[in-house]
Symmetry: C2
Subunit: 116 residues, 2 copies
């Protein structure tokens, strides 16, 4: 039960698309992650997906629409909505998902979500 | 389903301790709020409380401990833990609580949590 400095946590991550858990909020993982390049299109049947851009800019591709998401902006992908985050340049993101949710929508390809 | 600019939302708020809902994540309210002064000590029996300082600095007082929480820092108050946020100068915060949770811990004194 101490303050968690997100920039300090992010400084320990050198990989992309590799979310690390920094805190717990009820049954959710509070994670930081670096994006660069394109993630696969996927969906989560049972949960919304929370993104807050902490540094840089990402794009959220949906089927039929794309949104730039800039530093200080939140984007919520509602459950069941197919989406793909991408970033031309490295982008730092706060991500919230319920514990146990595969970040790719598929347990076979999901990241490990280690704790920092 | 569009990006939500937190600074733009905060620019519409002129009151303190008056959280406004800007998005929904599963059964949670994603809120922005301005802190200045001292909030009452309280607790939430059934939920953790999520704070992310977006601008400025706050202090989280617990029973027997106080923590400065700076810009870019997250503080999670676990359920059942008595706490009091305070801020000498105006501080902007992203707050997450399950829908229906009184921000004071008591429905009689809770803020309305209007939507922006």
């Amino acid at each position: 039960m101490t303050p968690i400095n997100l920039a300090e946590k992010l400084s320990q991550i050198s990989t992309h698309w590799d979310p690390h858990v920094v805190a717990d909020y009820n049954d959710n993982d509070i994670m930081v992650v670096k994006f660069q390049g394109e993630f696969p299109y996927h969906l989560h049947e049972d949960t919304d997906d929370f993104f807050l851009v902490l540094k840089g800019e990402m794009t959220m591709d949906l089927e039929g629409a794309s949104y730039p998401v800039k530093e200080g902006e939140v984007f919520i992908v509602p459950k069941g909505v197919t989406h793909r985050p991408r970033a031309e340049f490295e982008c730092e993101v706060l991500l919230i998902e319920p514990k146990g949710v595969p970040n790719t929508g598929d347990i076979a390809t999901a990241a490990a979500k280690p704790r920092l």
